[in-house]
Amino acid sequence: MKNTVKVILGAAALGMAASAASAATLDDVKAKGFVQCGVNTALAGFSAPNDKGEWTGFDVDFCRAVAAAIFGDPTKVKFTPTNAKERFTALQSGEIDLLARNTTWTLSRDTSLGFNFAGVNYYDGQGFMINGKKLPGVNSALQLSGASVCVQSGTTTELNLADYFKANNLEYNPVVFEKLEEVNAAYDSGRCDAYTTDQSGLYSIRLTLAAPDDHVVLPEIISKEPLGPAVRQGDDQWFDIVKWTLNAMVLAEELGITQANVEEMKASPNPDIKRVLGQEADSKLGAGLGLSEDWVVNIVKGVGNYGEVFERNIGQGSPLKIARGLNALWTKGGIQYAIPIR
């Protein structure tokens, strides 16, 4: 009896491990008819509901791009809002197929959590914002000795802050709050001299301040936060699809293929463009991924190229107006560099 129980439990455990690791996600997704995509519950510019309750944002559009690559239809995606704690279990347990939730790519997440990061869709980093009127002349975080710094509790932000000030032998008083609104209110009312969080966040917070123009984001980046979409380890085909979707979006920008001109570009004499858009006579690039040959056409038609998605959600076309910075193409001073599709 005891042995039977053991056998059953062991088999169940094995079955779980096996099914979680080796399932062909692409087949599952095709059978379901949609991609289940984990996004942030709410982060301005990256994933947030619009007036109609539809998901919009930079990460959300990446999910749509994957759906477009597979189905040729960017709407064949369902979103699972996940918070910082449950995002990893949701991916591990198979509740979602893809995690596009401003998640920092680190070694431990890649190894012990069992994920594969498909690349970096946003190079972020922790920065500081100060009130330029209150602290005139401060133009570097190194001048913040003795400052009180507003920070949200329970995040790596808090740890990075401590590390940075310790490394530079500076004194500081952390003013810690649990909720984002509380930190914002405290900073706006002048309780702290500086506010620290990821730079992408600083821009959206600046929008909610009483006098945004008084506040400046300091140039120092005290941590590297390469944010990227992640999938489960053990399914290389699915990993390839997600990785090359991201890559295709950046490459489309490099080649000047936009949502508006993608149909004309099909007729382009440029062999690079022809190859990427699947217009070569015996193109087998899409088939190698398990997709149709016009997968890049579908991505660009569905959501646009990397630059378009960036500008629409967090760049100049949005209230956030985040500069491209590191996220500009490598040809334009950034580090977004697309691997060739050939």
């Binding site: 779980m16 947030a48 309750g53 347990s93 609104e181 301040l209 009483a210 209230p319």
Partner: protein, 385 residues
């Protein structure tokens, strides 16, 4: 004997003199209530000053300076903030609520299917209100409709997937819909389950007693956040891959069981208060256990603990906000989620959203509280003071 109308005694009371002027009308009320002693007078003055300081700015923010319509953050931001309001403006951004109102009510529930939610709400009110007014007849039929027929209809209407109604997955539900479904189901389940648990805990049968005690103490010993978190994060890891329990169902079960444990202890408090004589009296009439409990003990016990029961209901209604932890959005959750919409990001948006959410919660909680006071007065037959 003949009656003569010769009595010199007055047959009617003489009309009372009018009270002196200073004891009548507005002046007297003011004197008695606000200026009875010098200390009272000073306190009244301080009170008036405080009111004068607080109320006008609040009214100004809520009503006079508030923005009611608009398409984006521009109407709720000053020129310096990139909007259209003059410098120093501060007012509620009701335009934000206005633009998001449908979302706050239904979440992402499919647009074309929202009539189903409204229909369920109308049916619920139509069945609940007559049940709550003592004068309305046919309570039995009404109760059967509300507690047996309505849940089935509501389930099929809300979830769909049968009778030609398209399926609306619970992932899309949100806002007030989630708050109300969670709390009404929680209330409807926790009261009967709580009564059974309370009776079980006082039972003489050792197994029944042990099960009830263990359940109550375990659930009460764990924070609701933990229960929800376990249900949402740990449970999927234990289940075989591909088998997923509906998240909403998990939360629903968690909230209902949690409330039952608290309810059980409240009701046990009522049971303890019933004197032994009542039990003995019932026994001497030859009533069975269930007759004794149902006819003698519970009616008295429940009446005693109405405030406690309503307290638990109100607490649970507000606790539903914790489903935010597991990525579901009740009213407060969806309001807070929309703060991240950059189209509406402004200094006034968070405050306006929270005030709105607070107001809606207050309406429901205040309603429950008033009804419970009414019920208490009506049922307070034996212990009137």
């Amino acid at each position: 004997m003949q009656e003569h109308d010769l009595s010199w005694v007055r047959t009617e009371m003489a009309l009372a003199e009018k009270a002196p002027a200073r004891e009548r009308g507005v002046v007297a009320w003011l004197r008695k209530n606000l200026m009875a002693t010098p200390v009272d007078g000073i306190l009244t003055l301080i009170g008036l000053v405080v009111v004068a300081l607080i109320v006008p700015p609040i009214l100004n923010w809520v009503l006079f300076s508030a923005q009611w319509t608009g398409a984006d953050r521009a109407v709720c931001a000053t020129v310096a903030q990139g909007g259209s309001q003059p410098e120093g403006w501060s007012g509620a951004c009701w335009a934000f609520i206005n633009a998001k109102f449908a979302q706050f009510m239904f979440g992402r529930y499919t647009d074309s299917e929202r009539w189903r939610v409204i229909l369920v709400a109308v049916m619920f009110v139509a069945l609940l209100v007559p049940l709550m007014i003592p004068r309305v007849p046919r309570k039995g039929l009404n109760a059967i409709l509300l507690f047996l027929v309505f849940p089935v209809i509501a389930f099929f209407l809300l979830v769909g997937g049968a009778f030609g109604l398209p399926y609306v997955e619970t992932q899309l539900w949100g806002g007030l819909l989630v708050t109300l479904v969670l709390s009404t189901v929680g209330i409807a389940v926790s009261l009967p389950l709580g009564i059974l648990l309370a009776l079980g805990r006082r039972s003489r049968l050792p197994v029944v007693k042990a099960v009830c005690v263990i359940f109550i103490e375990t659930v009460r010993g764990v924070p609701l956040v933990t229960v929800l978190f376990m249900a949402s994060v740990m449970l999927p890891l234990f289940l075989p891959a591909g088998m997923t329990f509906d998240k909403f169902l998990r939360a629903l079960i968690g909230v209902a069981l949690f409330a039952s444990a608290y309810m059980a202890e409240v009701i046990r408090g009522g049971l303890q208060a019933i004197p032994k004589g009542q039990y003995e009296g019932a026994d001497s009439l030859g009533l069975t256990y269930w007759q004794k409990t149902g006819l003698i003990v519970l009616p008295q016990a429940l009446k005693l603990v109405i405030p406690g029961i309503v307290n638990t209901f109100i607490g649970m209604f507000k606790d539903t906000s914790l489903v935010y932890i597991i990525g579901m959005f009740d009213l407060l959750g969806i309001v807070r989620q929309n703060f991240a919409d950059a189209t509406w990001a402004s200094a006034q948006t968070p405050m306006s959203g929270l005030v709105f959410a607070g107001f809606v919660f207050w309406i429901f909680c205040f309603g429950m509280s008033r009804y419970s006071i009414y019920m208490e007065r009506r049922l307070d037959t034996g212990h009137k003071r």
